[in-house]
C-alpha cells in the first residue's frame, strides 16, 4: 500500500500559509527578528516569531477571544485548516489527527506561574487549562472538525516526524481513512530560557553548516500534511515512501560525533522505501546551527552518501528551530520541493566545516526535477527520525 500526501498547511515566522512562506524563501527574506516582541521575555535574542498576538490569531481563526486558546493550538488550527482544505478531504470519512508539540500550552502557563509563585491563590485558572500537550490536539480537532482517532506525540525536536510516521501506520492498519499529521509549537519563555541555559542559542542569525556557526535561533510555527491511501485518491503531491525512527543513545542532549542515530534513521528510511542513496535529489537537513548537531549530521551524511552528498540545506535560517513543529514544517517544504522542483537556500553560509567540506544549497532553485527528498528531524533523548518522500 502506498501512502499519498494530499494536502499541506504551514505557519511560520514568515507568515500564514504556503504562498507567503514560499514567496519569502524565494526572495531570500528570513523570518528571524532581532528579539521577541510578542513573547514576554527579558532576553534580547533573535527568534523566528510570528508577529501576531494571540488575540489577533483568535480573530483570524474566527474563534472568540474568550475561548483563550494556547498559541500552540492557534498556530496548529491555522495550518491544519489549510492542509484539510488543500486535500479536499471528504468529511464523512474517518479523519484522524496525530499532532505533536513540545511546549503545549506553556505560553499561557508561564503567565499563570509568574503570579501563582508569589501567591498560590493568584493566577487565572484559564491560563493553565491548556497546559498539557493533548489540549492543543483537542482544540485543533474541535475547530477543524476532526472526529476520528486522535493522538499526541512528544519526542522533543523529532516530534512531528514521528507524528507523520504514526499517521502512515494508522492508514495502513485501516484505523483512519485520512489523517492529518504534523506538529505545532509556540515560542515560550520556558523554551527560550531552556536553550539559553544550554548555551546553544546564537546571539546573531543562525548559520547552519557554516564553520563559524554558534548555535540555533528558536522559532515558532506549525506544519501539517494530509496522508491518504494512494488507492483512495486520484491525485496527490507525492508519496511517503520511507520512514525511520532510531535512537542515537549517545547522550541526553548531544548528538554523537559519528552521527550514529542520524545515519541509522536515514539509511533505514531509504531501505524501507527500497531506494538507493544515489536516487535522493535533495536532503532537507535538521541543521539547527549548533556546533554539535551540524557536525554530527554532516558525519552521517558523508557516511551515507560518501563523496556524493546530494543538494542539501537547512531551512531553519528562515524559520528558526520550531522544535516539535520543525518536522511538520520541513515535511511541507519537502513535499512542495517534489511538486514544484524547489530547493531551498541555506541562509548565512560562508565556509564549510573543514572536516567534512559540505557546501549546502545557497540559492532558491525551481529549475530542476526533484523526485526524491529525504528530511531529517533529531531531538533530545537521542531521537532521530527521517522521512523519505518520492514522486
Amino acid at each position: 500500500m502506498r501512502i499519498a500526501v494530499t494536502g499541506v498547511g504551514i505557519v511560520t515566522a514568515l507568515g500564514i500559509g504556503v504562498e507567503c512562506n514560499i514567496a519569502s524563501m524565494r526572495s531570500g527574506v528570513s523570518g528571524i527578528s532581532p528579539a521577541a516582541t510578542i513573547l514576554r521575555t527579558s532576553n534580547l535574542l533573535p527568534v523566528g516569531e510570528l508577529k501576531l498576538t494571540n488575540d489577533t490569531l483568535h480573530d483570524i481563526c474566527g474563534i472568540p477571544r474568550r475561548e483563550h486558546l494556547s498559541r500552540t493550538a492557534l498556530l496548529g488550527i491555522l495550518a491544519v485548516r489549510e492542509a484539510l482544505t488543500d486535500a479536499r478531504v471528504d468529511p464523512t470519512q474517518r479523519v484522524g489527527l496525530v499532532s505533536s508539540t513540545s511546549v503545549g500550552g506553556m505560553d499561557l502557563t508561564e503567565h499563570f506561574y509568574a503570579e501563582y509563585n508569589d501567591n498560590n491563590s493568584a493566577g487565572r485558572l484559564r491560563d493553565v487549562r491548556m497546559h498539557d500537550c493533548a489540549a492543543s490536539t483537542d482544540a485543533i480537532a474541535r475547530y477543524c472538525g476532526i472526529t476520528g482517532y486522535r493522538t499526541t506525540i512528544s519526542t522533543a525536536c523529532s516530534s512531528a516526524a514521528n507524528a507523520i510516521i504514526a499517521g502512515a501506520r494508522l492508514l495502513k492498519h485501516n484505523i483512519v481513512d485520512s489523517v492529518v499529521v504534523g506538529g505545532s509549537d509556540a515560542l515560550s519563555a520556558f523554551t527560550l530560557n531552556g536553550f539559553k541555559s544550554l548555551m546553544i542559542l546564537d546571539e546573531g542569525a543562525c548559520r547552519a553548516f557554516d564553520a563559524s556557526r554558534g548555535g540555533l535561533n528558536l522559532g515558532e510555527g506549525a506544519g501539517y500534511i494530509v496522508l491518504q491511501r494512494s488507492e483512495d485518491v486520484e491525485s496527490c503531491y507525492c508519496h511517503l515512501a520511507g520512514y525511520a525512527n532510531r535512537n542515537d543513545a549517545h547522550h541526553q542532549t548531544a548528538s554523537s560525533p559519528t552521527g550514529n542515530g542520524a545515519y541509522l534513521a536515514m539509511s533505514e528510511a531509504l531501505s524501507r522505501a527500497g531506494i538507493t542513496p544515489a536516487r535522493v535529489h535533495y536532503v532537507n537537513a535538521h541543521g539547527t546551527g549548533t556546533p554539535n548537531n551540524d557536525a554530527s549530521e554532516s558525519a552521517a551524511l558523508v557516511r551515507l552518501f560518501g563523496g556524493n552528498v546530494p543538494p542539501f540545506s537547512s531551512t531553519k535560517g528562515f524559520t528558526g528551530h520550531t522544535l516539535a513543529a520543525a518536522g511538520g514544517i520541513e515535511a511541507v517544504l519537502s513535499v512542495l520541493s517534489i511538486k514544484h522542483g524547489y530547493i531551498y537556500p541555506n541562509l548565512n553560509f560562508k565556509r564549510p566545516i573543514a572536516e567534512y567540506g559540505l557546501v549546502p544549497e545557497q540559492r532558491f532553485r525551481e529549475d530542476i526535477t526533484v523526485d526524491c527528498v529525504l528530511t531529517n528531524s533529531f531531538g533530545f533523548g537521542g531521537n532521530c527520525s527521517s522521512l523519505l518522500f518520492i514522486r
Binding site: M199, H251, T253, A254, P291
Partner: protein
Amino acid sequence: MEQLIQELKEHLIEELNLEEITPEDIDADAPLFGEGLGLDSIDALEIILILEKYYGVKLANSAEAKPVFRSVRTLAEYILQNRK
C-alpha cells in the same frame, strides 16, 4: 587558595548532586571530566553557573573554557585571576 579549593568542592558536590562523595574524595588535581569525577558537558554548563553565581566570574562557553575545566585547582586559579 586551599580554602577556595575546599569551598569549590563543596559547591560541586551540592550543585552537581554528587552522590556519596565528600570533599576529601575529590583530588584537587584530578581531571574533572572523563576520568576522575567523570563529569560531562551538562556538568560543564552547571560549573559555569557556579563560577558566575558564587564568584561573579564569567566564562564565555564550554569549548573555550577547556583548560580552566581541567581540575578543581585550575578552576580555583581561574577564579583568583578573574575575581573582581
